[in-house]
Point group: C2
Chain length 290, copies 2
């Protein structure tokens, strides 16, 4: 496994690797490090589908709204590199911040549409920062395919919107959420849960699963379903439901006031707090044809 | 010469052409049509330096501040295509507006820095619109080199800033300003000049040339030089000097209050009106070493 810290080294390493394997595709997994099983499932998928696998480890300063969040973001490069070597990654790109944002840097990709709803307004600049760094990384790595976790569902939608709008020549694959045995979605935040909060947190997945059962039984009123979702989370011990909302899976427009219909899937999104830790999860809901 | 109207056709045509000529580079000249000798000099340069030459003809709606400017922008596709065929162009990309901006399009590239001074503030959204369409076109055409006219000096600087900031893998070439025999810079606006205004307009180039002579003679005070430039334009019959300003050629920061120095070139920028037509021109000033 080759480690690159500069754009120049990255480009040369990739060019040499592509020269050796002219038919092979490049699969790219962008991460902010502090890797868990969710990330590794993306790497595994990329490994299975491509001749060359590139992973970036880069804590992207421009997507943080608050400087203290950036400063305290967990950084575990040694452990990350060991995991990636074990997973058969070919090239790791781990640049210092000033390599991607040198003095005089002044360009931002502003994604509207899907970035302007739900998580967008409450985190000003976040999705623009994500889009900007991914545009840069895609231009540096030039992958045929890039892999993202479906857990950050809106982020995936924002990336798809940018790729479509800017005609980027990369295929975006959203991989299924990796879950612990009890259903809790993998997240670097899980390690911050107290034993009690860790025991409660699987209720998110359970509540989402029971939502599909309700739909199967004929409940299609969005307000009713959202009420049921919130109630299940509260009964399960969350101290705060930040949102428990059904949205259009493409535009992320909330479906409040509507009824679900067969052939038009809805995405149920949850952000809820357990023991002072904010957790997110989601599930696509399908209305069975009658 | 092959004409493509869709992104899909463009990509397939390029892939086939690259397959036939794996060693050849692609040179790209983006234009808004209504071609003149200035454009053709870019095409000639691209033709000399690349295996494949691609020209786009696209009046980009998102870079116009005012809808009536967009509506009245001159469109001469038949004449343009004849000129490009004659110039030995391989592929012309001429998409309808909705091909590049379909319903739901929502992404903008916001260039700060060099785009935030001089022409930037007076034309809100203009450089963002230019950057956005060029990013799209670069992603569709994937050229090794792209060619721009030095006449739109700030536009070239904005493109360079975007390419640098977003790590785009394309070399930007700025070509010398193409001039009529009397020094008037080629522009599609020249055809709108009255005979009297046409006779006066070469004063812009003369004033810029005499500025370098003043520098050669030891005048290095920016305020003095700007005053001389304005005075020459006014004496030459302009009805309005919009700006006659010396700037840093990289950042476009005005050099007001400074003195020119050897080894630090300055860019003299002019926008002036003749017979109701706004003309621009520029010249790099070099201070001779003593």
């Amino acid at each position: 496994m080759k480690l690159c810290a500069t754009i120049e080294d990255m480009r040369q390493t990739l060019a040499a690797a592509r020269h050796r394997q002219p038919q092979g595709t490049v699969g790219f997994v962008p991460t902010m490090g502090n890797l868990h099983q969710g990330h590794l499932s993306l790497v595994e998928r990329a490994r299975a589908e491509n001749g060359l696998v590139v992973v970036s480890l880069f804590v992207n300063p421009v997507q943080f709204d608050r400087p203290d969040d950036l400063a305290t973001y967990p950084r575990t490069p040694e452990a990350d590199l060991a995991l990636l070597a074990q997973a058969g990654v070919d090239i790791v790109f781990m640049p210092p911040a000033e390599e991607l944002y040198p003095p005089g840097f002044a360009t931002t990709i502003e994604v509207g549409g899907v970035a302007a709803v739900m998580e967008g307004p409450s985190r000003p600049g976040h999705f623009n920062g994500v889009a900007t760094v991914l545009c840069k990384l895609f231009n540096i790595v030039a992958p045929e395919r890039a892999y993202f976790g479906q857990k950050d569902a809106q982020q995936v939608a924002v990336v798809r919107q940018m790729v479509r709008d800017l005609n980027m020549d990369v295929a975006i694959t959203a991989c299924p959420i990796w879950r612990e045995g009890d259903g809790l979605a993998a997240s670097s935040r899980n390690s911050r849960l107290s034993p009690q909060a860790r025991a409660q947190a699987p209720v998110i997945h359970q509540a989402l699963e029971s939502l599909q059962r309700a739909v199967n039984q004929g409940v299609v009123d969005v307000a009713l379903l959202e009420g049921q979702l919130s109630a299940a989370l509260t009964a399960g011990g969350t101290e705060k439901v930040e949102y428990a909302t059904l949205v259009d899976p493409t535009t992320f427009t909330p479906l409040a006031g509507q009824r679900l219909q067969p052939g038009r899937p809805a995405l149920a999104l949850v952000a809820a707090w357990f023991g002072g830790v904010r957790l997110i999860d989601n599930k696509m809901l399908e209305v069975p044809a009658r």
